[in-house]
Assembly symmetry: C2
Homo-oligomer: 319 residues x 2
Amino acid sequence: MNGLFMLDKVLEAKERLRGYSNLTPVMTSGTLNKIAKANVFLKCENFQRTGAFKFRGAFNAISKLPGKAKSRGVITYSSGNHAQAVSLVGKLLGIKTTVVMPDNAPVIKFKATAGYGADIIEYNPSEQQREEVAREIQEKSGYSLIPPFDDPDVIAGQGTAALELFEEIKDLNYLLVPCGGGGLLSGSAIAAKGTCPKCKVIGIEPEAADDAVRSFRTKILHSVKNPPTIADGTRTASLGKITFPIVLEYVDDMQTVSEKAIMDAVKFLFFRMKLVVEPSGALGIAALLSGAMIPEGNVGIIISGGNIDAATMNMILNS
Amino acid sequence: MNGLFMLDKVLEAKERLRGYSNLTPVMTSGTLNKIAKANVFLKCENFQRTGAFKFRGAFNAISKLPGKAKSRGVITYSSGNHAQAVSLVGKLLGIKTTVVMPDNAPVIKFKATAGYGADIIEYNPSEQQREEVAREIQEKSGYSLIPPFDDPDVIAGQGTAALELFEEIKDLNYLLVPCGGGGLLSGSAIAAKGTCPKCKVIGIEPEAADDAVRSFRTKILHSVKNPPTIADGTRTASLGKITFPIVLEYVDDMQTVSEKAIMDAVKFLFFRMKLVVEPSGALGIAALLSGAMIPEGNVGIIISGGNIDAATMNMILNS
């Protein structure tokens, strides 16, 4: 994977997203700066359309499909923010969307995804793998597959969030990015190294789902299975074929945070900054507040999303 | 009260607040615009220092005290956002602050106020009135009283939120403002009429605490006692000697919203806009979503604050 080539793709994605994605705000907090002894800039993708950065990658990948592929439709597998993103992009661009979801997914996720207009195909996760279910349908239907993270166009789209942050805050010493499958982290690292090479890019992962940290340290791909973390956006089994080499090449370090640190971060964002942030979205703040990371200078943090249900928020606020 | 004179005071307050208050963001939502069939602009004072617009009025009033008064210190009575605002302003300006609070106020409010450094004097609300307790201490100590709303400097400070909104969104047809004691509503109306005279200013109050609506309609001051509304910022007994005539002169209309509409608005702001907003702060959204107000064109809404405790948010999210 050629870095300069990929930066071009992020810049192109930015043009493609213009007028469709939200230019999300960069928020700051005097209290946070004091605690962190740094100048912290939060890129608030919880204010992105569908409540998460996933809109960027889905839009970039779908909008650049050839006309014929668009008229056939797209398919994806996801029970989370990528499903809603694909569904909304389909609605905006008039493209039929199909989403493969486990039959035990929370009703609220079905509703949110179906609410934007996607057809939902359920499968039994104890008997089938989501990728296989999607591939079978894809072969019959001719739908284009829009993977949740392991795709150059998806990665390029996700990179536009960090790109916007670097355009607004020119000089960052650190960028902390949540890591699940590595789509956001890869795109962010490409944007960082392309626009502000001195900035150190750090991926943050829950301790309970530390496959990417282990993969990063050993340079061998590790995986986890249904890891018991509240940060549901990071429960992916492993980095991907495309994201793993990008993470190895462009990410400076990876750190883990505890479940308690994640919940404390969600609470801090709620009570002190009045931001609704989902557990996966609070990983960077968790690293700062827990001392897992002690960065100096100007520190960018990608707040990846804000889709949290009432039960989870109640549990966290009472913890 | 002379309107032009008061606009000057708001403009002066803006200069005084420069570098101290947050220039809070104006947020929008495609979903909200669709539901409201209007272009809605939220002035997010939940992102103001101490989590509410009250910082503006407290800072303006305290910072313009003469040097001798500053060295003696200030006193106020409040169990809510004004207490925290006065306490923080005292800390920032190096002025001793004393806050009179009912002895049955929630521990979290004591902590938040004391956390900024104020001395707290407790009183028994079934035996004493807070104004009297404050006045007694004031007479002995020489402290300057900073009232929560019925004061020209406090009103002028609160008006700077609307002033900033008009500077950013030049052309508003409506401005919806929560109303408790009328400090924010008075200041907002002065800013509106001074900078965008065609803009209709509407005060929004809970049905359960509709003293200001009745006062507005009858032109006779009505009051309520401990009204049973979840919007704790609007539980004030009545408009004040200064705010009542300003509301009569500059406010175009007043509307009430139900408790259910308030809770639905807090939920909408949480789930759809990822904003933590306290019930009083959600009154304008409650009016829009419930249909109590059906304004057209460009609609400004002051989101007055975001200080909500875990129990109240849990209750609302589960409602």
